[in-house]
């Protein structure tokens, strides 16, 4: 410790703020609505499966938090042939009712 360190401003608050922001961004994902994400995932899969056959791995769901808003990102991959098959199934049915 020298004579100058006495006068040096010790601003540790910005460090505290940054550390907290990084830490909480992780903890909110890990501890927060992890359960909610799992529930949403299961229900979304069930809903989609009622209409189109999909691989459970093809549903990617992610929750993010930024300030006061949380966003839910849902990414579903459905092979084109599955959609085509579904349409083919439905078309004759529709034709019959006419």
């Amino acid at each position: 410790m020298n004579v100058f360190s006495f006068f040096k401003t010790r601003s540790s608050a910005p460090v505290a703020r940054e550390r907290l922001q990084i830490l909480l961004a992780h903890e909110r994902v890990a501890l927060g609505p992890a359960n909610l994400v799992a529930i949403l995932r299961d229900e979304l899969l069930a809903t989609i499966a009622k209409h189109v056959e999909i691989d459970p791995e093809a549903l990617k769901i992610k929750m993010d938090h930024a300030g006061a808003v949380s966003t839910l990102e849902i990414d579903v991959e459905i092979p084109t042939e599955k959609i085509a098959a579904k349409r083919a199934q439905r078309e004759p049915a529709r034709a019959a009712t006419r």
Partner: protein, 271 residues
């Protein structure tokens, strides 16, 4: 209509009990019927802070288990007769508190009071989850310090998931009470500032309580700071916070910096 407010924080020693007593007393002074309930089974302290430690006969667990009537366990404050205390048990195990028992007690309290303040124990275990379980809104007590902010964030998560309101899909209103705030240290960048904490926790601000020797004096005397005639900034901040809680619009006062004579001359940091 009665309101059940949980005073919670996650971390211990940030001022939950002081806040419960101060807000409760401030509202009782305005004629509102108030009951403050200690949920810290085994480590009760609200009785001491309220100056009623020698008057506790029955407690929350006795009532929750149906051994006695609520009216037998309520301790009426000697200074303000609209202020009542329901103490925690000091000898029982915290597992003696059941959800059904607490639900019944809170239901009965709703019938008798305008405000019910649930003083939560530290931590996130049974006592803390039961204290928040049936609350309508929450006061999150936080110190401008990293561990307190982190724990408050965790508690906010629990308030949004484990309370009855949250489970019913209703909004759980949460407000931040920043306690032990030292404006000069914050100005010098040695302490997290109000905006930093608000930014990180993103819940509305109920009040800022400056660090004050009058708070310690109040608990020494067993007289909540809003009851003992204190004219300190901390007392006024608690009064204002209570009025905001009751729905009044009160401008937020930023605590003023206090400098000692010597520090003023030297222009350097205090303590």
């Amino acid at each position: 209509m009665s309101k059940v407010v949980v005073v919670t924080s996650g971390k211990g020693g940030v001022g939950k009990t002081t806040t419960t007593a101060s807000l409760g007393a401030a509202l009782a002074k305005t004629g509102q019927r108030v009951c403050v309930v200690d949920f810290d089974v085994g480590l009760r302290n609200l009785d001491l802070v309220m100056g009623a430690e020698r008057r506790v006969v029955y407690d929350l667990i006795n009532v929750a288990q149906g051994d006695i009537k609520l009216s037998q366990a309520l301790i009426r404050d000697k200074r303000i007769d609209t202020l009542n205390l329901l103490a925690a048990s000091q000898t029982r195990d915290k597992d003696a508190l059941t959800e059904a028992g607490v639900e019944r007690v809170i239901g009965e309290l709703r019938g008798a009071f305008d405000w019910i303040f649930c003083d939560s124990p530290a931590g996130i275990e049974r006592g803390a989850t039961l204290a928040m379980r049936f609350a309508d809104e929450a006061v999150v007590v936080t110190n401008p310090e990293v561990s307190s902010v982190r724990d408050s964030d965790r508690i906010i998560g629990l308030l949004d998931s484990k309370t009855l309101r949250a489970e019913q899909g209703q909004r759980m209103e949460k407000q931040l009470l920043l306690t032990r705030f030292d404006p000069s240290r914050a100005t010098r960048g040695e302490m997290l500032h109000v905006d930093d904490v608000l930014d990180i926790l993103s819940i509305p601000l109920l009040g800022i309580i400056p660090e004050s020797e009058d708070i310690l004096r109040a608990s020494n005397l067993g007289a909540p700071i809003t009851l003992n005639g204190s004219t300190s900034e901390a007392a006024r901040s608690y009064e204002h916070a209570a009025r905001r809680l009751a729905g009044e619009t009160v401008p937020m006062l930023f605590p003023s910096e206090k400098k000692s004579f010597l520090n003023r001359i030297l222009g350097r940091r205090a303590a």
